[in-house]
Symmetry: D2
Subunit: 281 residues, 4 copies
């Protein structure tokens, strides 16, 4: 039985990193399937590396491997993560009324085209219950009053059972406290081409600006609204003939594309965050 692991590694650029890590993999009888290494050209260069490698199950004890990599990482003062490719990530979904991204995610997940587990869908819109439960996924209706976002309730569901959250058109702003307590990645789809058109009604903003290209942006959520590291963007031409209705329709397609690109990159561990940017291998 073969197993495949993915190692993500980042640190200050230094000599010998690839040699050390690839030697370790070789000693485990591992075969490198794909390796991407990229260093920024900045003065204090930073190295990003993703290695996908496979080996006989008996040669790859995850705990042992983890310890060995930790010792390399310590030497280079690096951060790293080691993923078992066979273990699906658990993705919690938060969604408000617009449900095109939700419908797309549920469809793709069921067909095996989006290999994640979905422990729940949480919405402040009750109407999604039927669709979600048709896919046999737990649905929680958590209404949100202006004063009381009931974030604790969301956290109670999310903390243990998810590896990351996706806001598939979730219109409520998560508090910095929530983001900090959750502590894992949260991916949002914004229906505008960031950094343009932050905040509410980006398609109306685009219409008012008279742009000839509109877009959507999938990005990590940070404490600041609509400014987290961008993972994927999609764009499409528009013209004077487009009104708000047709922008919304084109936007639905763009949002699905950008979010899908981002989710696929994320669950294949091809996304590395660094400060306010991403490296996408």
């Amino acid at each position: 039985m073969m197993k495949t692991f993915i190692l993500i590694f980042q640190c200050k650029d230094q000599k010998g990193i690839v040699a050390k890590v690839s030697e370790l993999i070789f000693k485990c009888n591992g075969n490198i399937v794909a390796l991407d290494q990229y260093s920024t050209h900045l003065k204090a260069g930073r190295l990003f590396m993703r290695i996908e490698f496979m080996a006989e199950e008996k040669d790859l004890i995850k705990d042992k491997l983890d310890r060995q990599i930790k010792s390399i990482a310590r030497y280079f003062k690096a951060g790293f993560k080691l993923y078992d490719k066979g273990r699906m990530l658990r993705m919690g979904v938060l969604v408000s009324k617009p449900d095109h991204c939700l419908a797309d995610i549920l469809y793709l997940q069921k067909r095996g085209e989006l290999p994640v587990e979905i422990p729940f869908v949480i919405s402040n819109f009750l109407g999604h219950r039927e669709m979600v439960e048709q896919y046999k996924i737990p649905f929680y209706f958590i209404p949100a009053a202006k004063k009381n976002r009931k974030e604790d309730e969301i956290l109670r569901h999310a903390l243990q059972s998810t590896d990351f959250l996706v806001l598939a058109r979730y219109m409520l702003v998560l508090s910095p406290k929530f983001i900090k307590t959750y502590g894992k990645d949260i991916i949002n789809i914004h229906h505008g081409l960031l950094p343009s058109f932050k905040g509410a009604n980006p398609y109306q903003q685009a219409l008012d600006a008279g742009v000839k290209e509109i877009g959507a942006t999938a990005h990590f959520v940070t404490a600041k609204l609509d400014v987290g590291p961008i993972i994927a963007q999609a764009v499409e031409q528009v013209s004077h003939k487009d009104d708000l209705k047709s922008l919304l329709l084109k936007g639905m397609s763009l949002e699905k594309r950008a979010l899908n690109d981002a989710l696929h990159a994320y669950i294949e561990h091809r996304v590395i965050r660094f400060k306010d940017k991403t490296v996408i291998f």
Copy 2:
């Protein structure tokens, strides 16, 4: 001998406009080659129309036609312009040091792919003289001190001899007084996807924002910096691998595309300005 005219017409949306205008053209023995009419869906709808029609030269006396259309326009409280398609527009070019758009314009114009007359190229960079004069186009070097932009000198060249100006990467901001005195259209190419990244160094701004799509925008110049009506935009995907140098290179291609699209639309009289937007037929 056949002649072709292009009529641009805009006013508050009303009944009977197409009937009246097309009847006039029919009476001139004219044949409509292309007609685009579009009305905004807003409450106080606005009608935009472009008609391209041809007729025997003897049947189309421009002055007479002009008077007849004026009388229709008065009835509908409309603005209109009538262009003889056979008469080339005269395009004055202003350019600073980056010369990729200039080189492209000169090349295309010489090959007949950009059917305009170019009465002059004005630059605050002396080094372009050789290239411009190889194309047998007058070149004026007008250096610009911070305090003294010598706009009067530019106006002296432009006022009489041009139908419109293009800023083909002209890095100096034209004063509201210049724009008002010149009184005709001025088209600028901005090396960012407006409304993102206004002002200086848009590629550096894009890099700092970590975007995955960059773009360029051709727009009309107004008194406000980088916010005039957008005519054309071009976009291209970028990745973490792109540094400032590669963004500049991709940008050169994007700027040429957006500017060319805009210039072709403009000289074919397919661009109609209305407030802070454009209709591009």
Copy 3:
């Protein structure tokens, strides 16, 4: 009460067409919302026109209008169609096993983003029954043996109850006899960028050819396989990293985009067929 009509008109290019038609509309107290007229530049030029106009219901008696336009059309030896914009088209859906286009169509139609009636979904794959019936749309399972395509059964459903058919990834080839008997438009989505990669397994063909762009094509069905008039195409970049699985995934998104573009253009009566091409206003 206002009503909106759409008139499609095509004939040999001649003088006075717009004048005659717009005069008629004016006499009905009609207001032209949008007019597109385009004539091919060929020697024997051909004129294509689409007029969208609205008027008080009492001034627009469809039968009367129809007669009046018929008389104009006879004069110009033109073909025409007059549509009541308020009347939804009835779209029959045929689909084999891949159901991403089907799911998208059903979703958009329910949300009102694809304003058509769907009298039925016919499939040679029984498994779609559940999804289709959740949307409360009749589902007919018509299995197809190699020798017996049971096209008569399909025709029995389609002839009276549909205005057009869409093959939303229908893998069986319709016979020339079927196409002739049905006599109305049939739109197919082909998962390749026609005219490249006709026939079976276009993504495998694309992989073998080592292309760097893949696409999908929505086109009218004619008696010849995969060569009918193209309505819409969508493209996306691929790389050496893409294998058949990832091409299929990207393709799903492309097919939905091309088919949606085509269906929207078609149901808004913006598509005019002429010989082996289309004019899309």
Copy 4:
């Protein structure tokens, strides 16, 4: 003084390759700037690797390094190439009458945006002499009769003085004998989206096919016409309004984009040929 080398390596997929090569680089005191490794998922997987690394000049003796890598390559039965990044490739240019790609190449090369040496431009069209010589590049006029392509004359110029050839819209077909004798890479720009529209007049073919997307393809030349491994493609939307003239204009932009993408990838040694395909890192 730092030097940068680029190593291209390909062989049957095996364990230990990255470990061996990166160890060697580490021993030379080298720092890996970028590493891309990709293995095909096929049964008999094939490994492709590109490593860019830098070191003190004194530690990197090219001949010695070459010998050391050769010994590793022999062990893995691999093919490899080692490039000194500081050494510019020499690119011979062949061109017929259409000169938009030529003009673009000369412009970019002069500005330092296309870091190659251009030992000559050869054309069967005399008219390009002036432009080429303005850039101080040798120009050879080699007219081609149907029976006598004078390929020997081209070879005499190309064999010693070039690292590769680019056919920047060269309309004559090179003989298999020429390709074999030259023995190095030849890059062609074809003005169609291969594998569609091979051979002559691809834009006319696209017009006849009524496609809604056109494209251009940069590919390696092989003995078969227009079927060599594809390096880069560019696409753009067209509509029924486009005639041959406007397709040619849009095509000029597409050809420049595809060719530039290909040339940049090639001179940065990011292109690996394998059979009838390419890996572009």
